[in-house]
């Protein structure tokens, strides 16, 4: 699951290479969403920054 953003970004670069700008932007947006969702899953530790 953690490799999903890389897969989507690689697909985005591949689609751009094939001159499919709209498709590549779609892959990029999905990759960004996947990245942020995974970030949310991994941000479980409470910050302790009280001085």
């Amino acid at each position: 699951m953690m490799s999903l953003p890389f897969v989507l970004f690689a697909c985005a670069v591949g689609a751009a290479w094939m001159r499919q700008r709209g498709v590549s932007m779609g892959f990029w947006a999905l990759g960004l969403i996947a990245m942020l969702v995974l970030f949310r899953f991994h941000v479980t530790e409470v910050l302790m920054i009280q001085l």
């Binding site: 953003p5 670069v13 970030f39 910050l47 302790m48 920054i49």
Partner: protein
């Protein structure tokens, strides 16, 4: 700035991002410094930002492509900032080796800030967007090399992440490659 010069600068920028990603892989494979989940997501952030630069190389410079790079860099920078804040209080530990006194997530934040600054500076010149002359041949090798390296590193990161985390989420402090250990 001509479109050709813009393309050359974008190729250098994409090579710089690829160098950062390649060094992260070297640190992982050569020095055995396995990446944490947030480290992996910061690598993904570099791909999100680098994709905007790649669009400039493939389709020519456009403000929207710089926007893509800036959005990707903000997302990646947010993740690295979160990791910096996790360890900002003395005595709260750190993750991984340091390089010139700063840990890799701190360097990542600096790199993301540099990407945003670089894109902002490039956006200051409008002449690159009104391209009348055809792209010159001499610039083709460098952008192509940068794109190939970027795509290769994306595929390498897919393999590395699958080997490290398998099909699920990564452990917070990985000690070994999950796939090679059979789960």
């Amino acid at each position: 700035m001509s479109a050709d010069l813009s393309k050359l600068l974008n190729a250098i920028g994409l090579l710089a991002i690829s160098t950062v990603l390649a060094l992260a892989l070297v640190d992982q494979l050569w020095f055995g410094d396995l990446p944490c989940p947030l480290c992996i997501l910061q690598r993904a952030g570099f791909f999100a930002a680098g994709f905007g630069i790649a669009l400039n190389l493939i389709f020519g410079p456009k403000p929207s492509h710089y926007g893509v790079a800036i959005v990707g860099a903000i997302a990646g920078g947010s993740i690295s900032l979160r990791q910096i804040v996790l360890h900002i209080i003395p005595g709260t530990g750190h993750y991984g080796n340091d390089v010139f006194g700063l840990h890799l997530y701190t360097w990542a934040f600096i790199a993301f800030a540099a990407i945003i600054l670089g894109c902002a500076i490039m956006l200051l010149d409008d002449r690159q967007f009104s391209r009348a002359e055809p792209m010159s041949v001499r610039l083709k090798v460098l952008p192509l090399s940068a794109l190939l390296l970027f795509l290769t590193l994306a595929i390498a990161n897919i393999a590395s992440t699958v080997a490290l985390c398998g099909a699920g989420l990564c452990p917070d402090d990985p000690k070994t490659y999950m796939l090679l250990q059979g789960g």
